[in-house]
Symmetry: C2
Amino acid sequence: MKGEKCEVVDIWQILGKRWSLHILKNLSTNENIRFNELKRLIPDISSTVLSQRLLELEREGLITKKIYSEIPIRVEYGLTLRSKELETILQQLSNWIAKWNAHEKKKEAKAFPQMSKS
Amino acid sequence: MKGEKCEVVDIWQILGKRWSLHILKNLSTNENIRFNELKRLIPDISSTVLSQRLLELEREGLITKKIYSEIPIRVEYGLTLRSKELETILQQLSNWIAKWNAHEKKKEAKAFPQMSKS
DNA sequence: CGGAATCCTTGGAGATACTG
DNA sequence: CAGTATCTCCAAGGATTCCG
């Protein structure tokens, strides 16, 4: 943990950037999706940033990019085997959060029993 | 995935910030550690940011903070039950990265067999 | 010792416009 | 359609100083 360069931190930092997770989520529910479709599915993201994130994720081997030289041009993005494995880890993370949120709510309910009525 | 507020994204955003992971790592290997010790263990972090990250992590219930009213004052940080569970997930993430790094190296070796000599 | 307050700097997000 | 180029702007990081 001293001088060793930490791969986890690297990838974590990329995935931690804004929109990264949104992109992966949308790719996981719709496989093979086009740039503007993706953009429509993620409100408020700009094409600049979407393009950037996609590039970063592609470089990490987390998404595929297929270019169809039609007119107008068509580009489709999808998950890779690698990112599909990541999904399961993210799912565990999600479960972990859900579990502890439940704990929190219990504690709050005990501390402020009247709040459950309002 | 539309309007629902995503808890995973929230916590991911916090953990994705710079130094967050380093802090958790160091807390996991040394349990109960003081502010300046931690600072020494994480080269290049400023006390300003360390303090900030610690506060954020504490708010998320990921670290404990114990204050000893001695002179000079002593403050110790440690992991919580919640963050210890998180550790196992991070470990999986780490394994996942290692696994795919190995794949990459294999591919590179095939593509450029001469590189293994230099 | 463990921070908080202040100021400074920079990178990244976002808007807009343009192009193969 | 799928981006890139350019610009602006703000938040986060970092350095420094000070304090209970």
